[in-house]
Amino acid sequence: AQTVTQSQPEMSVQEAETVTLSCTYDTSESDYYLFWYKQPPSRQMILVIRQEAYKQQNATENRFSVNFQKAAKSFSLKISDSQLGDAAMYFCAPLNYGGATNKLIFGTGTLLAVQP
């Protein structure tokens, strides 16, 4: 079974600074995607960034980038120039696409606070 570990229950960053959220996962699948979602107090899960496992190049989306280490099964999220609106719970979630069922497996999340 797939498992996801987010070892940082809470993180804090100063506005305009950079923060990195860590995630490790365990999967026997060879084909999968990896996602980071954020969940603000409004509770809607919002997609932050996506990485295809077959791609060696790390994904970047504006201030958000990932460090994907496939052999180590590590998928960290870096937020640059942090903004107050980045404060939220962040979830790492792999998605396998080779089987009949395609489900996201979520970690326990990291609560990010942004200090003004």
Binding site: V4, Y33, F35, Y37, S42, R43, Q44, M45, I46, L47, R50, F91, A93, L95, N96, Y97, A100, T101, N102, K103, L104, I105, F106, G107, T108, G109
Partner: protein, 112 residues
């Protein structure tokens, strides 16, 4: 374009009752998945439907059931509610079975 819409947004039910939650996917999306998020935890997969067929089921009892309609909207039904069913229920739609999921705002179910 409208995003994923869920109804109702909040619901209070009594133990033993039945509940139906509804989800309308993004236009053109054929896959709908349901997740349960208990307070303080990450979402847990309940069901995936694609082209009106069940494509996957998580580790939930038979009290949980779902279906997808010809217009790709979906219902999640829970029978014989328990206190432990209190959670945020999230619906997600995808254009295909294995692409990124777009979530609705969820239905907060409280069982008393």
């Amino acid at each position: 374009d409208a995003g994923v819409t869920q109804s109702p947004t909040h619901l209070i039910k009594t133990r033993g009752q039945h509940v139906t939650l509804r989800c309308s996917p993004i236009s053109g999306h054929k896959s709908v998945s349901w997740y349960q998020q208990v307070l303080g935890q990450g979402p847990q997969f309940i069901f995936q439907y694609y082209e009106k067929e069940e494509r996957g089921r998580g580790n939930f009892p038979d009290r949980f059931s779902a279906r997808q309609f010809p217009n790709y909207s979906s219902e999640l039904n829970v029978n014989a509610l328990l206190l432990g069913d209190s959670a945020l229920y999230l619906c997600a739609s995808s254009p295909d079975r294995a692409t990124e999921a777009f979530f609705g705002q969820g239905t907060r179910l409280t069982v008393v």
